[in-house]
């Protein structure tokens, strides 16, 4: 382990395109330090989700990385085989999506699904997977975790399902969590609870977070640094205080004005 902090994630010149069409992500570069929370904010079509999916190598069919590199703790993710990538996903790098319902298996009990995550990465999650699952369900403050473990996804509320996703994401002590609109589908009061829980788990495990969202309030509340994406490019980046309180790029200014009009 080095004493001078090296970036945990380093993305350079990332360019992604669908077939021969103009790139949807163009020359994107940024770093995430260990334990840091970095937000990528942008409107739909800005390329923020495609950037996240490139890191996980989960691009939709037809899309490919045209140029650029993605290094995770020195490991070139863009060059790994699918088999190697599978060991990274859910292990060193976990992911949470907007809609927990579509990520959970509808015919599998909650406890089994959480335990499954531990079983896939035995080297990282020690002990009996089932016991570990209960422990994690309790760590994300689900009341009566033994009972929740026996339930199916449709028997839980949206907020409870997102807690389950967080339990699954953290069961293997990931070093990086990529969260794509983790609270967007939730009611505001539940959103606050979920963001708070993510922060708590992140601090306990020292995890870095890359948070993808269209919601500037969520970035302002949770992130250390922010990258503003527009039409496939990063147009502005810096600490949340710099970027959101003193935006320099006209696009960031426009985005903030649109929210500011509320006041």
């Amino acid at each position: 382990m080095s004493t001078v902090s090296e970036p945990l994630l380093k993305v350079e010149g990332l360019t992604v395109a669908f077939g021969d069409a103009p790139p949807v992500v163009q020359d994107v570069g940024f770093e995430v330090m260990p334990g840091e929370t970095v937000g990528i904010v942008g409107e739909s079509g800005s390329g923020k989700t495609i950037t996240a999916l490139s890191i996980m190598r989960l691009l939709p069919p037809g899309a490919r990385i045209v140029r650029g590199s993605i290094r995770f703790d020195g490991l070139p993710l863009h060059e790994l085989s699918e088999a190697q990538m599978r060991r990274v996903r859910g292990g060193d790098i976990a992911m949470i999506f907007q809609d927990p319902f579509t990520c959970l298996n509808p015919v599998m009990r909650i406890g089994e699904q959480v335990a499954e995550a531990a079983r896939l990465h035995r080297d990282r999650a020690e002990g009996d997977p089932n016991a570990l699952a209960i422990q994690m369900l309790s760590a994300v403050h689900l009341p009566d975790p033994e009972r929740i473990a026996r339930r199916y996804p449709h028997e839980l509320s949206g907020g409870q399902r997102q807690r389950v996703m967080i339990a699954m994401a953290f069961i293997c002590h990931p070093r990086l969590l990529i969260a794509d609109e983790p609270s967007t589908a939730l009611d505001v009061t539940v959103q606050l609870q979920i963001l708070h829980l993510m922060r708590e788990m992140q601090e306990q495990q020292g995890t870095a977070v890359l948070l993808i969202t269209h919601d500037i309030g969520v970035v302002a509340y949770t992130c250390d640094r922010v990258l503003v994406m527009h039409e496939g490019r990063i147009v502005e980046s810096g600490s949340v205080y710099e970027v959101l309180e003193h935006p320099r790029h006209p696009y960031t200014q426009r985005l903030l004005e649109a929210v500011g009009q509320a006041g």
Partner: protein, 323 residues
């Protein structure tokens, strides 16, 4: 403001029985007034019953109990045949414009339809009027020949709004009309609604979970929780002096775009919202309320005046009382 409201809802209940004997009490005893030309926000989280209330008001859903008066007419007992001419006066815009526009119809035909159905214009004249409607909502006459899929989400919502105002309604119900749109587009649609409300002297019932949106469109807000209105107030007052602990919880959960504000200390809401099949006894918010007392578990508070035009259903309101 005339003394006699455009819409008056009294003791409205909308229940949905489930197969195994349980009952969803989606709207559970609501009184609500909307005056002509007034923009009222109906705010609540999912499951609060806000959309059900809006649809029941337009008689798009059967009412379980209560009364709905529109311009002095008792909608709750009008036969459908007598409802039809009234429908021109009350229109609705939904969240997903793509789902409410026929993909095989040109925009011109979509807009001409209500004009023809309600015998306002026909043929070329209707087409002509459709062009004017498009221009009014910020699109252009050339768009008449296009199909819905050729437009962006924001443009499609403009088309839905154009269709809704075609009959010059006196009430427009907007049910989460901007929730699916990007931020910058949202603000534009809100501005458009506000302009139309003033220009056409049209009342708006703006149903949303988004408190920012309410501020941009409405002058008065009604807050709904588990089937009941728990607070109503002029918009500015609601934001600065919420009286109901639930409203306070909602406002406290709004994240400001400035980090220095967003990171202010805030109280974390407790627990999950109960479902409308198992409504708590007494005050329905008592299970999550930070200041609940013994009385709140047993007795249900009614809406009471806590200030000018400001009412809250709470035994221990947080502010007000002096007006």
């Amino acid at each position: 403001m005339s003394a006699h409201p455009l819409v008056e809802i009294k003791g409205l209940k909308v229940y949905f029985p489930l197969a195994h004997g349980e009952v969803v009490r989606a709207v559970d005893g609501v009184d609500l007034r909307i005056h002509a030309g007034e923009a009222v926000g109906l705010v609540g989280e999912s499951g609060s019953g806000k959309s059900t209330l809006a649809r029941a008001l337009l008689r798009l859903l059967p009412l379980t109990a209560g009364e709905v008066w529109f311009d002095g007419r008792p909608l709750h007992r009008l036969p459908e045949r007598e409802m039809r001419p009234l429908r021109a006066q009350m229109q609705i815009v939904f969240q997903d414009p793509m789902a409410s526009l026929n993909p095989r119809m040109r925009v011109g035909a979509i807009l001409a339809e209500p004009l023809e159905v309600h015998r306002i214009a026909r043929g070329r004249q209707a087409w002509e009027q459709a062009g004017r409607l498009l221009e009014r909502v910020g699109l252009s006459r050339e768009h008449l020949h296009r199909y819905p899929h050729e437009f962006s989400g924001g443009q499609r919502q403009r088309i839905c709004i154009a269709r809704a105002i075609a009959t010059q309604p006196r009430l427009l119900v907007a049910d989460e009309p901007t929730s699916a749109l990007d931020l910058s587009i949202r603000a534009q649609i809100h501005r458009l609604l506000r302009e139309l409300q003033e220009e056409l002297n049209m009342a708006i019932l703006f149903v949303t979970h988004d408190l920012h949106a309410v501020r941009q469109v409405c002058s008065r807000v009604e807050v709904m929780y588990l089937g009941k209105i728990v607070e109503c107030a002029p918009v500015q007052r609601l934001f600065t002096e919420p009286a109901h602990p639930y409203t306070r919880t909602l406002l406290d959960a709004v994240l400001e775009p400035m980090p220095s504000q967003a990171r202010r200390p805030r109280r974390l809401p407790t627990g999950d919202a109960p479902t409308a099949t198992r409504v708590p006894t007494g005050c329905r918010f008592h299970t999550r309320c930070p200041i609940a007392q013994e009385r709140c578990r047993e007795e249900e508070p009614e809406l009471r005046e806590v200030g000018k035009g400001h009412r809250a259903a709470c035994f221990y309101p947080l502010s007000g009382g002096t007006g």
